[in-house]
Symmetry: C2
């Protein structure tokens, strides 16, 4: 496994892959890797000749009062994990080379960026959009892999890829959870033991959404009420949002049908967690 830092070097490696007609699978990450990331890496590895993973804590997607500085950075451990998976290249660029002086291009997923998480994290998704575009243009993958956990991110990336006619397939893989149902996230590292217990309310609320639908209730307001009840039972939890939305427009649906997404953001103490499920309805 090779760690590549410079833009020139990644371009050269990718060029030689292309010249040898090798397909490239790509997993963009901010490091602090867990089994969720590794599930993407395994899939990429299985489907492509070469696998590239980027590790870059992207300053542009953090708000002023967010956790850019304290975001967990575990580069050596990450590399060990990726090496074991048989990854070919870890791309670990410097912020100064990714965003040199004079950088001024905004990529804005209008209508999609100000919904759900975007309401509470202004600028976050345009930061995601620009770094993902840059990485795609550098790595030129055939397929890029993302986790369903970051649902809004996957919707926005699919939209931008389609709108800008990028020649890359986006593969979204299921959220990986611990045995109690908590979605794996690098930010789980912030949780105390008690908070980790409280954080289970996210998945419980999502499970409640599905069981409510199973019981024949498809009115979104009622479903959301049931979900919020569960979260309010947890003392350490504060709701940012709870909603059931269309998986392309991110608009809240009045009535739930299969494929709609129950999604939420909840703060457990100071840690903001997100989770979602794709709803199934037989009605």
């Amino acid at each position: 496994m090779e760690v590549v830092v410079s833009i020139q070097d990644i371009r050269e490696r990718v060029k030689s892959f292309r010249e040898n007609q090798l397909t490239v699978g790509f997993v963009p990450t901010m490091g602090a890797l867990h089994e969720g990331h590794l599930s993407l890496v395994k899939k990429a590895k299985g489907e492509n000749d070469k696998t590239v993973v980027s590790i870059f804590v992207n300053p542009l997607q953090f708000g002023k009062n967010e956790d850019f500085r304290q975001y967990p950075r575990t580069f050596d451990n990450d590399c060990e994990l990726l090496s074991k998976e048989g990854v070919d290249i870890v791309f670990h660029p410097k912020a100064s080379e990714m965003y040199p002086e004079g950088f001024c291009t905004l990529v804005i997923p209008e209508h999609l960026e100000d919904k759900l998480c975007g309401k509470l994290r202004p600028g976050h998704f345009r930061g995601v959009a620009v770094i993902v575009l840059k990485l795609f243009n550098l790595v030129k993958p055939d397929v890029a892999y993302f986790g369903q956990k970051d649902f809004q991110q996957t919707v926005i990336i699919k939209r931008i890829v389609s709108d800008l006619n990028l020649d890359v397939n986006i593969s979204v893989l299921p959220t990986i959870r611990n045995k109690e149902g908590l979605a794996l996230s690098s930010r789980n590292a912030y949780l105390s033991e008690t908070e980790r217990e409280g954080a289970l309310c996210l998945y419980k609320a999502l499970a409640k959404a599905q069981s409510t639908i199973n019981a024949g209730i498809i009115n979104t307001k009622e479903i959301v009420q049931e979900m919020e009840k569960i979260i309010r039972n947890c003392k350490s939890a504060t709701i940012d949002y709870v909603s059931v939305v269309n998986p392309e427009t991110l608009e809240e649906v009045p009535r739930v049908s299969s494929g709609d997404v129950a999604t939420l953001a909840v703060r457990i103490g100071k840690t903001r967690l997100i989770d979602n499920i794709i709803c199934v309805s037989t009605i």
Copy 2:
């Protein structure tokens, strides 16, 4: 020469070029071709294995009260000219396929889009940015060719290509003028005979900028005054802007040095024309 209309077809053609290790030169146009465009095509042809020219009057770069509907469309004649030049593919997509329902991605060259022409044509350069990005992603050229006449456009495209790490070289070629100095433009077709006479004031003003510099005056305000004097002598002319700017930031410079660009937009009757020269100073 093949005329390709669909996104799927252009992708297939480009893929086969790539697989055969053929280089691609690309000239994006809005049609209504003149010798300026053809100079780009000739250059592309000379430097690459395959030459692709797009003809697409991009609705996104026209303002509400601008000339989208009346913009000259001379497709059959354009194809004849391009065929004579030995162009391989004309890409002539439909607006409905380029901007399908739900399209919502903005590409914004911040700081650069609201200067010069951008001040008077709000939204114009983000329209240019998005179509050029889309076309680059579809055609995947090694080199794309633009005319110096559209100076601000070239600055913005170079910036976006650099910011987003696109793997394409941008080649900017000199403005082609008629023997009296008028820069060739598809919009010259709007001019009456008298207006065409009046339109010469653009180049005269630019020539005056250079001769003023040659005479040892490098103060931008003085140079701009000299230029404006010449334009005011033309009855049919209304100044949109006259400036001398840095070729990367587009900021007006206080004193002119070599490489700075004297640039102007002038309305001749109802027709808005632009022109510029790269200044040379020996001081």
